[in-house]
């Protein structure tokens, strides 16, 4: 199934990609999506420990399952203000 992926800030620059579409297996978790993304963009690997995950604009844990058409975002540590 297809999901939409968003990357921001250093993740975006590292991958050279602000958004894209990923093909993942039905039942895939956010952690699986990140692993698929890292396989395509190995330079993201060092960020695995600090990335936060969101589904459709809400924070979510790595074990959460994604659904067809979801908007999945991977977020570096925030630094607003």
């Amino acid at each position: 199934m297809k999901i939409k992926v968003l990357l921001f800030a250093s993740f975006r620059e590292t991958a050279g990609l602000s958004q894209g579409t990923l093909e993942v297996e039905p039942g895939a978790t956010l952690g699986d999506v990140w692993a698929t993304l890292v396989a395509e963009h190995p330079r993201l690997a060092p960020h695995s420990g600090t990335a936060a995950y969101a589904i459709n604009g809400t924070y979510a844990r790595p074990a959460e399952r994604v659904s067809e058409g979801d908007e999945v975002a991977f977020l570096p540590p925030v630094s607003g203000g």
């Binding site: 975006r12 969101a54 809400t58 924070y59 975002a73 977020l75 540590p77 925030v78 607003g80």
Partner: protein
């Protein structure tokens, strides 16, 4: 590649019955005005509005800062600010809260964020404004890049 805002509809909070008619949660590239946000949050029942104005500082960790660039996950940022606002209204009995963050490249002295809270009493207003700022810095998906004379770096994100 330039920074982009990924917009989505702001989430409502149907599970709680909070009056947000004097509140605002916004992320955009437009310049910020304190007086405008005070006008948003103020009601006739308020005696106190406390605001926090975050500005671009000319130094960080001993290095000269030339500019800051802010990038946001716009829709989620507004949604997270609304969650914070609702929590502050409920905890402190506020009448209104406005949180607005600017995106894009900002020069030293420009305003990056404003939080304004209105309350019948000043203690609640100070406490809520300070707490809302701490929460914003912890959870709202906005990122800051520092521009130095000899390079640029995303704050707190390790090697780029």
């Amino acid at each position: 590649m330039t920074a982009t805002n990924h917009q989505q509809a702001s989430q409502s909070s149907p599970e709680r019955d909070v009056d947000l008619s004097h509140s605002l949660f916004k992320v955009s590239s437009e310049p910020l005005s304190v007086d405008s946000l005070v006008a948003v949050v103020l009601t006739g029942g308020d005696g106190a509005v406390v605001t926090f104005v975050g500005t671009v500082r000319d130094n960080h960790m001993g290095r000269v800062v030339l500019a800051l660039e802010y990038e946001a996950y716009g829709g989620m940022a507004e949604s997270e600010m609304e969650h914070i606002g609702i929590e502050m209204i409920e905890r402190h009995g506020l009448h209104g809260i406005a949180m607005q963050h600017r995106t894009g490249k900002l020069a030293v002295g420009e305003t990056s964020v404003i939080i304004a809270v209105s309350s019948p009493h000043r203690q609640a207003a100070f406490a809520a404004c300070s707490e809302a700022l701490d929460m914003l810095k912890a959870t709202v998906p906005v990122w800051k890049k520092e521009y130095f004379e000899d390079g640029e770096v995303w704050v707190g994100q390790g090697a780029g």
